[in-house]
């Protein structure tokens, strides 16, 4: 028996959210008195996979099939199922990402496992039961969920678990083949279009986000958002009205029907804070709101606020960050 963690890799690197997943898995393994094995998906290098030892991983299974570089639901599911069989995994941990949820939900049926997504804490395992805490009601509540049965799948929400860093420890990387065939690649992408990311920081992975709303008055003013984001090393985002009128692309829209983010720092500029927007950001650790309207509802959900004109305040903040650095 073991714990299996699924690590997503991109451009040879293990994604930050997967370092958290690996750390979660190795801590669960310790609770259960076993070891944690990782299985890699995406484009990975052996050197980076070996470094997963720092997150407490003992062994990494790596299938070098080149078509695994891009996300293919069928192939990823078969690969992870094969790894789970090989390792006799009782608990499988993945990221609560589009890939994690797509694969995890299929795996739960294939492996007859119970599954919880959006998980924010390590499990409680008192008295033989296995309970995890997960976000529900679009960030407005938490649910403790009991997972039944012999096998469990847990999808861990980004930025809810601190990644472990035990310097110098390495994991053993082992070649592994799930014997994938063409049929497993039925949903392989014909084309992959990656976004043009300002500063190279992906919004779903970012631990700092600077976001703009209609108060920015037009796309021509987004340089103010981008300047602050660049100084902070943050990703940029926007509210729904902004993406609806095409000031910014849809993939930057955070909120109820957009992306849900949970960064350490979320700075909202000229966003009033409609409940639909809050649903996408309310699990951020620190929320800063800049708005000229002191009655903007967002101030109620904020930790820090500035009542003022974004066109005046943003350059001052950018300057202050540059001075601090």
């Amino acid at each position: 028996m073991s714990v299996l963690v699924v690590v997503e890799c991109d451009g040879g690197e293990v994604k930050k959210s997967s370092l958290e997943v690996a750390s979660y898995g190795s801590q669960v393994a310790q609770m259960l008195g076993t070891t944690a094995t990782a299985v890699a998906v995406g484009e990975a290098t052996e050197a980076n996979l070996a470094k997963l030892g720092e997150q407490g991983i003992t062994k990494v299974l790596h299938d070098a099939e080149p078509r695994l570089k891009d996300f293919v639901n069928g192939a990823y599911t078969k690969l992870i199922a094969a790894a789970a069989q090989k390792e006799d995994a009782k608990v499988i941990v993945l990221a609560n990402s589009n890939i994690g949820a797509s694969v995890g939900s299929r795996l739960s049926v294939r492996l007859q496992a119970s599954i919880a997504t959006n998980v924010v804490e390590l499990p409680k395992t008192d008295g033989g039961s296995f309970t995890v805490k997960r976000g529900a009601f679009s960030g407005k509540a938490f649910a403790d969920v009991k997972l039944d049965g012999d096998r469990k799948i847990i999808a861990v929400k980004k930025n809810s678990i601190e990644a472990l860093h035990e310097a110098g420890k390495t994991a053993q990387v082992e070649a592994f083949s799930a014997q994938l065939t063409d049929a497993d690649f039925a949903d392989a992408p014909k084309q992959v279009v990656m976004q043009d990311q300002a500063g190279g920081i992906l919004l779903p992975e970012a631990d700092k986000v600077v976001s703009g709303g209609r108060g920015m008055k037009g796309p021509e003013n987004w340089n103010l958002i981008e300047d602050l984001a660049k100084a902070l090393g943050a990703a940029t985002a926007c509210s729904k009205p902004v993406s609806d009128v095409d000031w910014r692309p849809h993939h930057e829209h955070v909120g109820q029907t957009g992306i849900t983010v949970s960064p350490n720092l979320y700075i909202a500029c000229g966003i009033s804070g409609a409940i639909q927007h809050l649903a996408g950001v309310n699990s951020s650790k620190v929320i800063v709101v800049i708005n000229k309207d002191p009655e903007a509802p967002f101030f109620k959900a904020a930790d820090y606020g500035i009542v003022g004109d974004v066109f005046d305040v943003l350059p001052k903040l950018t300057q202050a960050v540059k001075e601090l650095n």
Binding site: D10, I115, A186, G258, K285, V288
Partner: protein, 246 residues
Amino acid sequence: MKFLVCISNVPDTTTKITFTPDNKEFNKAGVQFVINPWDEYALTRAIELKEAQGGGTVTVLNVGEADTEPNIRKALAIGADDAIRVNAHPKDAFFVAQQIASIAKDGGYDVILMGKESIDYNGFQVHGMVGELLNIPTVAPAMKLDMSGNTATLEREIEGGKEIVEVNTPFVASCQQPMCEPRIPNMRGIMTARTKPLKVVEPTADAARTEVSSYALPPAKQGVKLIPAENAGELIKLLRNEAKVI
């Protein structure tokens, strides 16, 4: 082409969330329920595709008790042709997925659509479970869906980009914006919805694999600390020294 659109009955977005005194259930008292906002993309896109094909049917499916029928009627008013309600409390994602898979199999549906996730449980699981139960492809979350004959071209969102994927029917897709502009019912739709068929069936399988043992609300925010606009740079110092996030 036969479309099956799965809808969930959820508390309106603006609902203040409270629980029953034992914290085991959501407190429905006085709460307005709506069609899950993500499911509206699935429903509208199915109707648009049917119209473009000049034939076919859109069936709405809900797993829920009788109190979900007003929202099923609303889906019929928006333009679905008929509806099925599986008469059961939706215990968990697996329970719901089994009902959907059973109906989809018996009905021979070509395209099974649903929203990315429900705004109450936020599971994002049912799509994959249904696909696996039926042994057909799942594309999740889909931002775009076009059909040409039996082949669908979809845009699947991945972190930081999108994949263009082609699959043949039957398949499952979980939908999100910007797939379409969700429609709202018009008066004619509301009138015709009253007489469209709504079939009630009993659940076919009973198994659930998870159970919510308790709900809790997040700790209340401490209140906002306001920094004067003329002294905006002070905020950056607080973020470093007090909040320790930069």
